[in-house]
């Protein structure tokens, strides 16, 4: 929804004005968490925190808003928070509350799917993607050494409500967990470290001592981080084509190389194909029917890519020019075409409805610093509206002038900060009006200019410029 963005900011402003500028948000203790299970999934290149909680209204009024803070310390940041009723799957909204608190708590206000009457219970499932929470320890490793990541978080969920029972499960990427904090009731089995269950946990107090948990675990995959992604979705009615181009600025956020890169050991071990913290290849699962894929970078075409497209799948498998070790950068461009009919429907009158994936991307777990999606509609399209599957942080409408355009193509640029690949492959729906006259603009302009050129040449050719006869 176009208005969703402005609504968030409005709400935030109001809340900011309403709440006193204290250390933390003043949340009325109207709930009790009957049972809380938190799962911290660190098997990807970012942390996915899932909190399943049974809440009970202990006040005397019916309640609709539930607050949940997330701990974002250091370089970490929340990418997204999603919430639903665990029983029937009804989604509910979770919105960040800008409370200007100094302590690294980010409050989220969850609007319950239904009004909760006094002493009623509801089970919520809240999922959050947190980036930057994993740091490689040690920060530098040898070229063929194992990579370890460390996660540090709070032992308890910093809930402002009283919790009767809570448990935290930490899921590492594999069973190799050399270090983890041991509190009471700590158990490790396989690749899961469990803390709890703990009974009767008091509401979170900002000034109290924080019990931390730190887990260091082996991570055999690279930590793919796209500092920036520019994604162009270009609709061509005449060409009956949907062209998608993505420009990536990639870096590996894993442990850096201790020494310089040695091709010798890379080449000699390549034979065994050992797990490595370097990015060797990226796999882009595209929509079925994608074609004409290309893979280039700033110095031209990269020949090390494979593209396979059949009736079941379309896969673009690319290999960077060199393995990307921790801290190394690489930027590249991939693009492909799709037949437009699969994505565009003709609505009423001049109306069109476009449904395209807002984000695609490699199958490897990836996080994005900044994503700019440009949707380029045909020249002369008007009345553009969209419904986004994820929160858009900035929106801009502009005219994109390219091949043989006279006024430029109507385009929108959507900027999203801090994205994780959990959010990819969700469709954005764009509606716009595009009249037949607008469609005929280009052929008419070309025809007109060629014709006028012809007339001018004909006239000029008839002028006699010679001096004297």
């Amino acid at each position: 929804m176009r208005s969703s963005n402005s609504r968030v900011s409005l709400l935030a402003t109001l809340l900011l004005a309403a709440s006193h500028l204290g250390l933390s948000l003043d949340v009325p203790p109207v709930y009790k968490n009957t049972n809380l299970l938190r799962t911290i999934d660190a098997s990807k290149a970012y942390v996915k925190e899932t909190i399943a909680v049974i809440i009970e209204n202990i006040s005397h009024q019916p309640q609709t808003e539930y607050y949940l803070p997330l701990l974002v310390s250091g370089s970490s940041a929340v990418s997204y928070v999603e919430c639903k009723d665990k029983k029937d799957g009804t989604p509910c909204t979770a919105e960040a509350v800008d409370d200007a608190s100094e302590y690294p708590l980010q409050y989220y206000k969850i609007t319950l799917p239904k009004t909760l009457k006094p002493s009623d219970q509801i089970t919520l499932a809240v999922t959050a993607g947190i980036t930057g929470a994993l740091t490689p320890v040690p920060a530098v490793i040898g070229q063929s050494d194992k990579q370890f990541l460390s996660y540090t978080g709070a032992k308890f969920v910093p809930s402002p409500y009283f919790t009767e029972k809570q448990k935290t499960k930490f899921r590492a990427a594999n069973g190799e967990i050399p270090d983890y904090t041991i509190h009471e009731l700590t158990e490790k089995s396989g690749y899961i470290v469990t803390y709890g269950p703990y009974d009767n946990v008091e509401p979170w107090k900002t000034d109290a001592q924080v019990d931390e948990i730190t887990v260091r675990f082996e991570f055999t995959n690279p930590i793919v981080f796209m500092e920036k992604l520019e994604r162009d979705i270009e609709v061509s009615h005449w060409g009956n084509n949907l062209a998608i181009e993505e420009r990536y600025w990639m870096t590996n956020n894993g442990a850096k190389l201790k020494e310089q890169f040695s091709r010798l050991s890379w080449a000699t071990t390549a034979y065994y194909n050992p797990p490595t913290a370097a990015i060797k290849s990226l796999l882009f699962p595209l929509r079925v029917g994608s074609k004409d894929a290309y893979y280039t970078d700033e110095v031209g075409n990269v020949s090390t890519s494979k593209f396979r497209s059949d009736s079941r799948e379309a896969i673009l498998d690319i290999k960077p020019r060199f393995p990307i070790f921790g801290g190394w950068n690489y930027s590249f461009v991939v693009g492909w075409n799709n037949d437009l009919p699969a994505y565009l429907r003709h609505g009423e009158g001049d109306g069109y409805i476009l449904k395209v994936p807002l984000l695609q991307g490699p199958s490897q777990s990836t996080s994005y610093g900044k994503v700019e999606v440009r949707i380029i509609l045909p020249e002369g399209a008007t009345n553009v509206k969209y419904v986004s599957p994820i929160t858009i942080h900035k929106e801009e409408q502009f005219l994109h002038k390219t091949f043989m355009d006279t006024i430029g193509r109507t385009s929108i640029k959507l900027t999203i900060d801090n994205v994780v690949d959990e959010l990819k492959n969700r469709d954005i729906i764009v509606t716009y009006d595009y009249s037949t006259l607008a469609a005929l603009r280009k052929p008419l302009v070309v025809l007109g200019s060629v014709f006028s050129l012809y007339i001018v040449t004909a006239i000029l050719g008839r002028i006699d410029l010679s001096i004297g006869k």
Binding site: P178, D179, Y180, T181, I182, H183, D211, E212, I213, T214, E259, Q260, F261, S262, R263, L264, A267, T268, D297, E298, V299, G300, N301, V302, S303, T304, R321, F322, W328, N329, Y330, S331, K401, T402, F403, M404, D405, T406, S449
Partner: protein, 754 residues
């Protein structure tokens, strides 16, 4: 002109005039299309990419031009090359090429076609080759007729000698210069024929464009005066020549001086003195001619002729004196090497080290021109038969270009147009003669009428007017000759296509090889390494490499280089050569003083890529020796038997040189012990590779073609790097001994307690 052409198919020239002109346009367009298409092999096989070395600089400069605008480009001081000296790029280049593509870029933007500047640069040369074909048509049409013109255009369009420098991606000055050369010559012929100041002025305009585009403009600067001089010597001075030459010289010279890189050279250097001298001479001749008109006396005439010769001799002596005293700059080294092919090798190794400056081998004439090369003398002979003023130009051009093409491979390029023209005249004459369907009935009568016709038409010829017309009587010989030539022409097309496809369409930045299953495998090591530099080194990192790769590093890696293909400072190049050729102690000092961060070398030993730095190494040594004869000696790099070896027989100087060490560092470890093989030089290497103390290997590309080394920082404790590595290896040994029996490293779970 077309009226002189004997029409064979269309008996009535007047009624078919419009059909002919449409046919001509269609044929010319087809030729232009063929010329463009035959240059696209590399784009289709590889991609739209800039080729080789110099084009990368031109491309970079073009990008700068479209990004910063013309005036910034004009004042461009490039601090990312020739570190720490920098280069006044705006004032030391021929801007014509970049300005042309910049103008095309802007023009396309104006009509809403935002084409990438790279694509414009890549396709500029093929585009201009179409125009060259057209210019050749115009030029040849002036020489014979439009039939010969079309043939010449077709030859020019596909001759490998020209394609070699104008395939798609070969974005070099020659890309537009050959068009300008031919068009300037056409305008000159037109001016000389008509005696028109307007055509002379146009000629000057295009001469200016040529000057702004290519250093080879000196060829025009000398050829036109030579043409005039020969005409005067032949006693063919006329007012037309006077008007044409004076207007061309005055305007052209003034215009050419507007190019900053040329500046006052046209009045200061020997290369331009011929034009100036002829300009003076033609004034004298004009004066004498005027006097002769007034005083028709034979004795006086002879006296005046003697006077002219005397003045010529005096001015020549004056020129020599001025040159010796240094008022006029003497011939530059590159020009000396045109007269004495051995000169450069002794005095200026840097010029001799460039492969395109080598003398031409005989087969390459046949390779680049195929059948045209044997039609060429016939065309020159035919020019002698007619010998109008413009035919003298062909002869002069042929003689000069043949000589230069023999001296320097690169100048094959200037020979190609005239070969195409002469060959077209030959083939056209043959077809004119043999394609006449009617056999002449009465030889005497026919020849009489022809003779009369020719006398009327041809004013300048003296041999042709005497030649009787002889027709071909037998149909068999007609069919035979025409058939044979048709076959030759078809074979020529096949040859051109084959040469273009096989020899001239490799970007050299990207190498192609075949996989066992026959599929193409791209070896892309250069771009791999350059891209690594671009992405993973500091923005202001300084890269030292041999000058060949300077432009590519600037273009692809976007990093500062010490030397590049501009080669304007021999000492700086010699410094790099010395750093490569010296022992590490000496080199490290040089590297530190030049703030070098990375050293880049090309090594083909693994893949068998023969254009690598070890093979170029002797030139580095020679160039360094030219500046520091005491410190670098070529002799020391040869074994006592005079062989250049890299295996265990290599001399100590060789083995201790930085280049050798960097090339073979860790290389033997890639093979089983004792099996290390250098595939370029076919040498078995010593089992133990060289040890580097002052450099770290930073990056090596997939096939080891590009190796990048990082220069170590100064030691934190102020020790020299040899002491450090000795200390570290000693310590390592000690540690190993001390820890014998213990498990290396600490493994197992460590638990943090809260």
């Amino acid at each position: 002109m077309s009226t002189t052409a004997k029409s064979t198919l269309f008996r009535d020239p007047a009624s078919t005039e419009s059909v002919r002109s449409i046919l001509k346009v269609v044929i010319l367009l087809t030729i232009a299309a063929a010329a463009v298409a035959s240059r696209l092999f590399s784009v289709i096989r590889f991609e739209s990419i800039i080729h080789e070395f110099d084009p990368w600089f031109n491309f970079r400069a073009s990008k700068y031009l479209v990004k910063h605008g013309f005036f910034d480009f004009w004042n461009w001081f490039d601090d990312r090359t020739w570190y720490p000296l920098g280069r006044v790029t705006g004032g030391t280049l021929y801007p014509g090429l970049m300005v042309t593509s910049g103008a095309i870029w802007h023009a396309l933007r104006m009509i809403s076609l935002p084409v990438d500047i790279r694509n414009i640069c890549v396709l500029l040369a093929p585009g201009f080759s179409g125009l060259t074909a057209f210019a050749t048509y115009l030029f040849t049409k002036e020489m014979k007729d439009s039939g010969a013109g079309l043939l010449a255009a077709a030859f020019m369009g596909i001759a490998p000698g020209y394609i070699s420098r104008s395939v798609a991606g070969s974005y070099d000055n020659e890309a537009i210069a050959i068009f300008l050369l031919m068009f300037t010559f056409y305008l000159w012929i037109k001016a000389a024929k008509l005696g028109s100041a307007m055509w002379g002025g146009l000629c000057a305009l295009f001469y200016f464009y040529m000057v702004s585009a290519w250093g080879g403009y000196v060829f025009i600067t000398n050829l036109i005066p030579l043409h005039v001089f020969v005409l005067i010597l032949m006693g063919r001075y006329s007012g037309r020549i006077y008007v044409a030459y004076s207007s061309w010289y005055a305007l052209g010279t003034l215009a050419s001086m507007q190019v900053p890189f040329v500046g006052f050279l046209p009045v200061k250097t020997s290369e331009h003195m011929a034009a100036l001298g002829i300009f003076g001479l033609i004034q004298l001749v004009a004066f004498v001619d005027y006097l002769r008109g007034q005083v028709p006396s034979k004795q006086f005439n002879t006296l005046l002729r003697a006077l002219v010769i005397l003045i010529t001799v005096i001015s020549f002596t004056g020129l020599v004196t001025l040159t010796v005293t240094g008022v006029i700059a003497p011939w530059s080294g590159r020009f000396y090497s045109l007269w004495d092919t051995g000169y450069a090798k002794i005095h200026i190794p840097i010029i001799a080290s460039v492969s395109e400056h080598q003398p031409t081998a005989w087969p390459s004439f046949f390779f680049d021109l195929n059948m045209l090369i044997w039609l060429f003398p016939a065309g020159v002979y035919l020019s002698f038969r007619q010998l109008r003023d413009e035919h003298v130009f062909i002869i002069v051009y042929s003689v000069m270009a043949s000589y230069f093409a023999g001296v320097m491979v690169r100048l094959m390029l200037t020979l190609t147009p005239i070969v195409c023209v002469a060959a077209a005249i030959t083939v056209s004459s043959i077809f004119d003669t043999y394609l006449e369907i009617d056999s002449p009935e009465e030889p005497e009568e026919d020849s009489e009428s022809k003779k009369a016709k020719k006398d009327k038409k041809e004013t300048g010829g003296f041999l042709s007017s005497k030649a009787p017309f002889i027709g071909i009587y037998s149909i068999t010989s007609k069919v035979g000759v025409v058939g044979a030539f048709s076959v030759y022409l078809v074979l020529f097309v096949f040859h051109c296509t084959w040469v273009t496809s096989n020899a001239y369409s490799s970007p050299s930045v990207v190498l192609a090889s075949r996989m066992p299953d026959g599929s193409q495998h791209i070896i892309d090591d250069f771009r791999e390494a350059y891209y690594w530099l671009r992405k993973n080194t500091a923005e202001d990192a300084k890269i030292m490499s041999w000058w060949d790769y300077g432009y590519q590093i600037g273009g692809m890696a976007d990093r500062t280089t010490l030397v590049d293909n501009n080669t304007w400072n021999n000492t700086h190049i010699a410094t790099v050569g010395k750093a490569m050729a010296s022992r590490e102690e000496v080199s490290y000092d040089i590297l530190r003083k030049h703030e070098v961060d990375y050293v880049l070398i090309i090594f083909g030993g693994l893949l068998g890529y023969s254009g690598d730095d070890i093979n170029k190494f002797l030139w580095m040594v020679r160039i360094a020796e030219g500046v520091w004869p005491a410190e670098v000696q070529e002799r020391k790099f040869f074994t006592p038997r005079g062989e250049y070896k890299v295996d265990h027989e290599a001399t100590d100087t060789m083995k201790n040189s930085l280049m050798y060490k960097m090339s073979y560092y860790k290389f033997p470890s890639l093979f089983p012990p004792g099996q290390a093989q250098d595939r370029v030089r076919g040498a078995r290497l010593p089992a133990e590779g060289p040890v580097l103390h002052t450099l770290d290997e930073a990056f090596t590309s997939e096939n080891w073609i590009v190796r990048i080394y990082k220069v170590k920082d100064l030691d934190q404790f102020g020790r020299d790097h040899f002491a450090v590595s000795a200390f570290e290896s000693g310590k390592k040994k000690g540690k190993k001994g001390g820890m014998a029996g213990r498990a290396p490293g600490k493994r197992g779970r460590r638990v943090v307690r809260a």
